[in-house]
Chain length 118, copies 2
DNA sequence: TCACCTCATCGCGATTTACTTATATGGCTA
DNA sequence: TAGCCATATAAGTAAATCGCGATGAGGTGA
């Protein structure tokens, strides 16, 4: 009794996952984009995305190198309201809006690696 | 960032707490009434109530022996919607409706103790 | 005042969660 | 097909969570 509902709220019970939802509210994004913005490692982001997907919040789509995650368009009304009610972080939203999806990952992540090539 | 919201959803991330909210949706109740209905111990119920109160869902009121908990009437709209959207359990709602607050605890709990007095 | 009632808190063990690093997977491209 | 890229999974650890029984706190009433 109420296990299913608790499961859904448990998926929302983490600040990083809420931030991911707020970011994806602007537009879909691939894992590496989120990794470039969030203060946790790539596996952590991957695990959070899996949790949100299993709870029914996200869909995934493969394209070229990247896996894009997006908020399900057929979200139940209550969940849609919850997502809509999340606070807006101006910096986060500006950031994800100005990303050019196909460039971010390679461009951003090659730079740091340059130092390891020496 | 998003810590406060996560805190709220964490308070909802447990089936027993959701069931308590659904029960209190019918009417306020004292701890011993909830203990009489839920499949967990009195300390567990007490802790769940504290968690819900700290998250801002409940108020408490003392009267004679009992502490009555109720859903805050000034709940933010989003939280009010969340509580309203919880599934209705007919048996639970019938049960709490037919309780006569002042009788339940002493009546119900004296009986089992009789066997330990022998 | 003292016994009794409800409820809160303490202290503990078991489980879950969220993170890390290391490594595996699988698509893409040369 | 060989190597690279983004992503997923594995394994381990620290902290949070949920349950219990025992006990403490505080009001009530004889």
């Amino acid at each position: 009794m109420y296990e299913d509902e608790a499961q859904i709220y448990r998926a929302l019970a983490d600040p990083t996952r809420l931030r991911i939802l707020a970011l994806l509210r602007v537009r879909e994004a691939c894992v590496c984009e989120l990794v470039g913005r969030l203060p946790v490692s790539q596996p952590a982001v991957s695990q959070h995305l899996r949790r949100l997907r299993q709870a029914g919040f996200l869909t995934e789509r493969r394209q070229k190198y990247w896996t894009y995650y997006a908020i399900r368009s057929d979200l139940p009304p209550m969940l849609k309201e919850i997502v809509a009610a999340l606070p807006h972080d101006a910096a986060d939203e500006a950031w994800i809006r100005e990303q050019t999806a196909d460039l971010v990952c390679t461009e951003v992540k090659v730079a740091p690696r340059a130092s390891t090539r020496s």
